[in-house]
């Protein structure tokens, strides 16, 4: 029974093929080639567009410990003022906008996509969601309350610098010392050196664990030498800012460097 059915199917298929061949032969060749060409061209276009979209990551991430001033900076960038103040963020603040200082410029300006990721340790996993589209990371540090939090800050920074996506894509990082308008704020060089020292110590204790350390996929720096930020594969720069007094020019410079206007 089955063999009969298969036989019937074969005959039907052959008939269809014959019909199709006849049909194709009837179409004038020019039209046929034109149709095929259009189809191939559109497919090609779609692929190219998809590739382009992937390359242009235009997101800047604002991260740092809780209380370092990220939400204030976010609103400074967007509106030029931080309105009535901020509290600890429970969710990320996202926005695609033209920087407030550039609204007066004429012409078409590329808007920037900025994400302010909460710094509370319970909400750390949120950072990973945005890392894939990041073009630059800003690590905000409180320059006034720096020393009590230096360990937590350096651990967070170490975690970011050793994430696979950051190392592979060489995402540039800006170390932003915030709250420099206060008298007791530390200088950016001091902060940089302290962080380098702490990360050096972290390097020693983290690599003491065996090779199968799940969280840190890469190690920092060169063995045997003290750690400096210039040893990182991605570019690390340091700058100062003050969220309360709207002194954010260095931050905007960084943003515009990596997200072209």
């Amino acid at each position: 029974m089955d063999k009969e059915k298969i036989g019937e199917l074969k005959i039907q298929l052959q008939q269809l093929l014959n019909e199709a061949q006849e049909f194709v032969q009837r179409i004038p060749p020019l039209q046929l080639y034109a149709a095929i060409g259009v189809v191939v061209f559109t497919i090609f276009l779609l692929l190219v567009i998809r590739l382009f979209k992937r390359r242009s990551a235009n997101t800047i991430l604002l991260t740092g410990l809780s209380g370092s001033g990220k939400t204030v900076l976010f609103y400074q960038l967007r509106d030029g003022s931080f309105h009535q103040g901020t509290v600890t963020s429970m969710e990320p603040n996202e926005g695609t906008f033209i920087l407030n200082s550039e609204t007066s410029k004429k012409g078409k300006i590329n808007p920037v996509h900025i994400v302010d990721v909460p710094g509370h340790s319970r909400l750390r996993p949120k950072l990973d969601e945005f890392l894939s589209q990041a073009a630059g990371i800003v690590f905000v540090v409180d320059a006034v309350e720096f020393l009590p939090n230096v360990r937590a800050a350096s651990e967070y920074l170490y975690d970011i610098l050793t994430k696979a996506s950051v190392v592979k894509k060489k995402i540039p990082l800006l170390l932003l010392c915030n709250k420099v308008d206060k008298v007791t704020a530390h200088t950016k060089d001091f902060i940089r050196r302290q962080l380098e020292k702490e990360i050096d110590k972290l390097r020693a204790s983290r690599t003491a664990l065996s090779s199968a350390d799940v969280t840190n996929e890469y190690t920092l720096g060169l063995p045997g030498e003290a750690f400096v930020f210039s040893q990182c594969h991605n570019k690390v720069t340091v700058a100062e800012a003050s969220g309360l007094t709207s002194d954010i020019s260095q931050l905007e410079q960084f943003i515009r460097e990596y997200v072209k206007a």
Binding site: Q84, D116, A208
Partner: protein
């Protein structure tokens, strides 16, 4: 009167504060509320208490989940304002009407707020008058149930601000602070959501029955005096049982063989090192350092189980939920969430999560989902599941770093030994896991020393001695019936002398209700100020985990002579290999204490020590 009323977004921007109530708040109550309560998944609680030198506030809040707004009211703790809940919900309604995501200043809301406040106060007055009939009976019943109710009754008697009864009660409140037997449930930042709910519920019930107030206050004072008396009696009870000095005469049976040697122990000396040669234990790599192989998540599994639970509910419910999911425009009400939440709660409880923890978690998730709009093509159950998963990951993610090696290095630089104290109830595996931790530390080239401060249980010192011999590390022991606090102190001094980096202190197991033993433990911790207080809890424990941890924390806080007591810093979860997928104890313990799980013991040999894998636990809990 209200101290402050804030409206802010979940992203952190303050949208509106009441300009009139311009008193600057002492401390930072809002930030603390967010960190200790809302982010800790305790948003189902009714209120939160915040203490700072110079002020003590109570905070109440409400969410508007669709727009992502939070409304918080702050007022003095001694006042019991009835109208706050009412006011918050009215403000929520009014504000959502004028809210616009682009706007950042809402000054026109000031007038609306004034109106609403007057309305709310008026309504509260009316309700109070109708409740003047009062229910003093409730007071009596409430008092018998425990100390928390005392706080409520006290609060109940001070309805309006001012008044002598208010001040009177305030004094009683403060003097009542320490001496009560079971300890006053101090609401510190670790946050115990139960206390505030009960306080507020009773505060409302009692109304302004001022006639009842005086009797209550008097009884209050009598009770505290009585408690003081019993407490001094308890103190005199000796801490450890003396061993029996009278030896028993051996009973002679008729047809027993002649009494020859019945003692079969080896003729070894007390210090058995000369006779036994021990091979140093080397069992390979501790599982702490091994990568855990996580099976890739198959989403189809989750969907299947979801479908099962959906089929269980009525057919009509299924059809309407399908319809809603496609339409996707319904605003979630509490009644919609209830069946899904109940199913989730039951599932959590079958995984050995303590009942009240599951309850509180579900309340918190409900609070965060209420009023939200369903996205199209999603079922209610899947939304609830996603929210619960996020909440669980958030709770189990450690709040502070659990990198012990880094802490050890830091202590080493300062030249002090790093002291870890293992506490817990009887039989959870403190000594066994202490040896495992020592083994792991040894593998990372850290000099470890053990301190045998379990001077009560027979064989405890020998047990540690055997471990120390196998691991070839020094052990500090003073035998039995010595004061553990003194032994620990001398052990730490010895460690700094012989260059050990870490001192692991073993203590005797004790029940959380045993007052004298808990006092001894808090004395040990106070005298030695360890770097890490590790609570050892077994994964087999059920609802008792909540009781154990909360009482341990509470006793360590109350019975410590220092004004800034050390509480539990971390949890060591043991016997993890004995539970298949009933991993709920981890969740209960972390939720109730806020301390992270630093180690997981999964077997009885030296290498069976792991780190907690948050994602796999969450997956197992929700399977």
């Amino acid at each position: 009167m209200l101290e402050q009323l804030l409206i802010f977004t979940r992203g952190g921007l303050i949208l509106w504060t009441c300009k009139e109530l311009g008193n600057a708040l002492r401390g930072s109550p809002i930030d603390t509320l967010i960190r200790s309560c809302l982010l800790e998944e305790r948003s189902g609680a009714a209120s939160y208490n915040y203490d700072t030198p110079g002020a003590s506030y109570t905070l109440k809040w409400t969410f508007h989940n669709e727009l992502g707004l939070v409304f918080v009211a702050v007022y003095q703790r001694i006042l019991h304002l009835l109208y706050v809940d009412d006011l918050l919900s009215m403000i929520k309604q009014e504000f959502s009407a004028i809210y616009d995501p682009k706007r950042t200043s809402y000054d026109d809301f000031n007038d609306i707020f004034q109106q609403l406040k007057k309305e709310a106060e008026a309504r509260a007055e009316e309700m109070k008058k109708s409740k003047q009939v009062g229910k003093p009976v409730n007071n009596n019943l409430g008092r018998k149930q425990g100390q928390v109710q005392n706080g409520s009754v006290d609060g109940g008697s001070k309805k309006k601000s001012g008044g002598e009864s208010g001040n009177d009660g305030g004094d009683v409140d403060k003097s009542r602070g320490r001496p009560l037997e079971n300890g006053n449930l101090r609401n510190n930042h670790v946050g115990k959501g139960e206390a505030p709910t009960m306080i507020n519920a009773n505060g409302k019930e009692n109304g302004a029955s001022k006639t009842g107030a005086f009797d209550v206050n008097k009884l209050q004072k009598l009770r505290s005096k009585a408690a003081k008396k019993t407490e001094t009696v308890v103190n005199k009870v000796p801490k450890e049982e003396p061993k029996k000095k009278i030896t028993k005469k051996n009973r002679v049976w008729d047809d027993s063989p002649k009494e020859s040697k019945l003692d079969f122990t080896d003729p070894v000396s007390e210090n058995g090192e000369q006779n036994i040669s021990v091979v140093a234990a080397d069992e390979g790599e501790s599982m702490m350092d091994k990568e855990e192989i996580i099976s890739s998540d198959s989403e189809s599994e989750e969907e299947e189980t979801e479908k099962d639970s959906n089929v269980d509910s009525k057919k009509k419910g299924w059809f309407s939920s399908m319809f809603q999911s496609i339409a996707g425009k319904a605003n979630l009400e509490k009644s919609d969430l209830e069946p899904a939440l109940k199913a989730l709660k039951d599932r959590l409880m079958t995984k050995n999560v303590a009942e009240e923890i599951a309850e509180k978690l579900c309340e918190s998730v409900a609070a965060s989902l209420e009023g939200k709009r369903l996205a199209s093509f999603t079922r209610i159950s899947s939304t609830v599941q996603a929210a619960m998963e996020e909440a669980l990951v958030r709770i189990l993610t450690p709040r502070r770093s659990i990198d012990i090696l880094r802490d050890v290095h830091a202590a080493k630089e300062q030249g002090k030994p790093y002291v870890v104290v293992f506490v817990g109830v009887n039989g959870v595996g403190k000594s066994t896991n202490l040896a495992k931790v020592a083994y792991w530390l040894l593998q990372h080239n850290v000099n470890v020393m053990m301190a045998a401060c379990d001077t009560f249980r027979s064989g405890a010192v020998e047990q540690l001695r055997t471990h120390a011999r196998r691991l070839q590390i020094p052990i500090f022991e003073k035998g039995y019936e010595k004061d553990p606090a003194i032994v620990a102190k001398e052990a730490i001094q010895e460690a700094s002398r012989n260059g050990s980096d870490v001192v692991l202190v073993d203590t005797a197991g004790r029940m959380q209700d045993n007052e004298p033993l808990m006092r001894a433990l808090s004395k040990l911790i106070y005298v030695n100020s360890p770097d890490l207080v590790l609570f050892v809890g077994e994964a087999l424990v059920g609802n008792d985990a909540v009781d154990q941890l909360s009482k341990f924390n509470q006793k360590l806080g109350d019975l410590s002579p220092s004004p800034d007591p050390r509480l539990i810093d971390g949890i060591l979860l043991t016997k993890f290999d004995t539970i298949d997928d009933k991993v709920g104890a981890a969740l209960s313990m972390v939720y109730i204490s806020g301390a992270p799980v630093m180690f997981v013991g999964c077997g009885q040999s030296y290498t069976d020590l792991k780190k907690l894998n948050v994602k796999s636990i969450v997956k197992t809990l929700l399977k």
